[in-house]
């Protein structure tokens, strides 16, 4: 009863079944005239490992981006995602990667006040924008944003891996809507998956922060 296997090109790392958005993404990069090591992308990795040993055909370029209110100079590959730049080149590891496919929201950052999945945007495209990560939502000297304070008080995080994304989504919501309803908070967090299921406590915290902000 042996079944015939039709192809050995199936890529269990996701290139066949899980590549819809990624393929478009790569096409976009290629259309820009830069063919980076596509294998790296196809297998679901952005280029970890700092410059100097990039695949043939690509080159890093020094650019300046504004992150958390500071101008940062950084060597960036043409195909480099913002999440990668933040985590691996600027040391901002608060931004998490849960899927690297724009599905989970763990990598949520603000770009000019709007929440974006930083795994699915190229660093080159934010050169003229203000990027805010979880490290930048509070005040200076370690002062917490009211959303963060309320999340501590409400014991909102469980494993904590989605928490930075939830924080950024909550802060962005309060910036555009200082007094949201519970329903508005739920919709603002709809792109942030939490497998631990701490949703209620995140909403409680953001509503509480709105009251105290």
């Amino acid at each position: 009863m042996q079944k015939k296997f039709s192809s050995n090109r199936y890529d269990p790392q996701g290139a066949v079944r899980d590549d819809v958005s990624r393929r478009h993404f790569i096409k976009g990069v290629i259309a820009c005239g830069t063919v980076a090591g596509a294998a790296g992308l196809m297998t679901g990795c952005s280029d970890s490992g700092d410059g100097g040993s990039a695949p043939a055909g690509s080159a890093e370029r020094l650019i300046s981006i504004n992150v958390n209110g500071m101008s940062r100079n950084v060597d960036v590959m043409p195909n480099e995602t913002l999440a990668h730049t933040l985590r691996n080149k600027l040391g901002l590891t608060g931004t998490k990667l849960g899927c690297d496919r724009g599905s989970c929201g763990a990598c949520t950052v603000m770009i000019d006040g709007t929440t974006v999945n930083s795994c699915s945007i190229l660093t080159h495209t934010v050169r003229n924008a203000n990027v805010v990560t979880v490290e930048g939502v509070g005040g200076g000297n370690g002062e917490l944003h009211p959303v963060q304070t309320a999340m501590i008080e409400e014991l909102a995080p469980q494993c904590g891996y989605c928490t930075p994304g939830q924080v950024v989504s909550g802060v962005a919501l309060l910036q555009r809507n200082p007094n949201p309803t519970r329903e508005e908070v739920r919709h603002a967090l709809a792109g942030n998956l939490c497998r631990c299921g701490a949703y209620n406590n995140y909403v409680n915290a953001i509503v509480k922060a709105a009251g105290s902000a």
Binding site: F5, A39, G49, L155, T163, R195
Partner: protein
Amino acid sequence: MADYNLIGKDFTPQDVRPKVTGTGKYSEDFKKDGMCYMKMLLCPMPSANVTNLDASEALAMPGVLGVLTADEVPAVDEPGYPMLTNKPRQLGMPICAIAAETESIAAEALERIRVAYEPQPFVLDPLESLYPGGPNALDSGNVTGGGEGNPPIHTRKWTARDFAEAGEDRLPMGEAPVEWSVGDVEAAFAEAALVIDEPFVTASSTHQALEPRSVLAYWENGKCFIHGSSQSQSWMMPGLARMMDVSLDDIVYIAEYCGGGFGAKASPYPIQGMAGYMAKKIGRPVMMRVTRAEEYHLGGTRPGFQGQVKLGFNANGKMIAADLYIVQSGGPNRGSGDYSSAAGALALVYTPTNMRFRGAAVVTNKPWHVSQRGPGQNQLATVVEPLMDRAAKELGIDRVAIRDLNAPEADVVFTESQSTVTSMYLKEAYKLGAEKFNWEEKKAMSGQRNGSKVIGVGVGSAYHSAGSNGFDGLISIRPDGKLYVHSGVGNLGTYSYAGTCRAAAEVLGCSWENTVVLRGDSRHGLPWTLAQFGSNSTFTNTRTNFVAATKAKEMLQRLAAMDLGGEPGDYEVANEAVTNTSDSSKTMTFAQAGQRAIELGGEWDGTEYPDNLNDVTKAALKNVTGSGLVATAKDELFKEGSVPGMAAAFCMIELDTDTGKYEILEMHSIADCGTVLHPQGLQQQLRGGAVMGIGEAALDRMIYDPQNGLCATVGLYQTKPPSILDVPTLIETDAVNQPDPQNPFGVKGIGEPAMGCAASALLSAISDATGTYFNRTPVDPDMIINALSGRPQSFTPLQVNV
């Protein structure tokens, strides 16, 4: 109830702030000088023999540092799970790994490795493997574990007659590897006023922790350092030492944060070792970032069930007979005992006076299968709870009343091994839940229609054995005047590592501000304890910290008497000091005691320790000895019987009969977890468990293409966990708060039943709204629409991968 300073009070665990600021470091957040990157070559088909592997072209690439093959790592016998293998028996099983200066180079190098595969027969459906002449997933057989005299894996085939007699609508029931019975089941069915006999399927589903299991490994001075993603800490040590072939002293394990595990990161898993072997081979720190898609192959899967359940009730609604047969679908590995645990849950939660269980755990060429939150008990809850509703309706009994009638008392004796429990308050949970939810009023709303929408009301429950014993406690009181509680518990996100440390502070009358929890890094000296699984930490580690703190108290009293005069009994320990009760000038602060213990050495500072400690604790003591007054003890307190974590949930939904979709209007979850240790933590577990339970009932499943054995669920959007919009705005929680007599503080665990009770309450509500018992999880809107419009479902009753 006892009056405690810390037990039962809320507090802020030390790892909450780093979580909200993003400074908490998960394994992928670490960097090490000289760090390189590794990627795995995964098998592209469900079963194959690798006949040739040529990495020469890959190794010639600039930036490639090395390849690691199966020949260079420990061999594992079936049904163990290999680190690397030339006989992959699962889609996505690792064959070799490449290390390179960057991840892109590693990935590109993988494509240049030439592998010749010889495809092998494969099987995805356990029943196909049990069919005469059906394929075995492993070379050594198709059935694992369980049953007296059975080897760990062997071959078992049923007869064609077994299958023919069953037809499409019943589980074929050939000879079972595991079987037990209590009472006379056949006679009881003959007497029953109502018999329900149904086939069922619960889908295999995946844990989907949000953090993929990335690992960083390196070697320094002969020690292997591993930064891992795991829900356990000390439990990882012996397995990692064996895996890396070094002594316990030469493993440094760092896992301060873990982005979710749900059972799949409980014990050392083979790919953790891979980075260690590569690091040793190439002499560089190795980071392996695991992708989301890889997580579906290597991240663990809950075993699915195909089964038949027959329940007999008398006219009052008492379950007098139960006959359960479960065929468990595993991966190409030993898997977990879900099927046996499910039988135990049926025996305990519904107390059938006569019961028979038969089961078979069948291996398939699907991913690594491992326990998931409530392994067995939660699947069982989703199968039986809706049938309890059906029995209630057919016998004209209230649905809560029939559960209450069948619920166990504290003197329950269950299963063939005549198990007992340490405490039992399920009836109280039903009562409290019915009050809070306002069951009578809600029940009256059942079936109310508003246009195309109809109200459904449900109730469910679940059980898990939630506590263990026999592990070690370790505390130190240091010259800085602080109490250090060494915790070997992992950080799954439940905060029970912290809650249980409060037990030590409670015993010693020490303020929480002056208590330091040491955890997350074996260099702190962390004692042996069970993995953070099975809802056990709360019960297990309040006991270990109680015995260690009790010993510290006795040592402090003896030390004070020795130095200050009088008898040890003249002294009391409180406020970070030991003081003579009749002469308060005779006092020694924690700081002084810690200093004095260091001077004395011997039994005082950890140089001498009890012989009955586990080797992990003994190794840990090497990092603690001489730091202050060191007290360590093994938990030898009395324990007999299962420690039952029990939960009941109530749920109301509004179901749209046009679309099959529904909104959960209300959900209440009530715990019997003994004395509440940490109210916020409990609320969080009940809510989080309910959310995951909604996933179990309605969303979670792994799907395989039967022709090629490929996986169709390798993205979060393909097997979506519940999002915030899938769950109620506010899940209400409460607890019966009755102490368990076998814990010094009365506490026991709850994390797992929190999921099963909500899953079964939701299914109960869906059945209430639709009048259909689906006998399957997950129930999706298509199935609801088919049922409501009288169309047949698109699958047969025992079909899997749908």
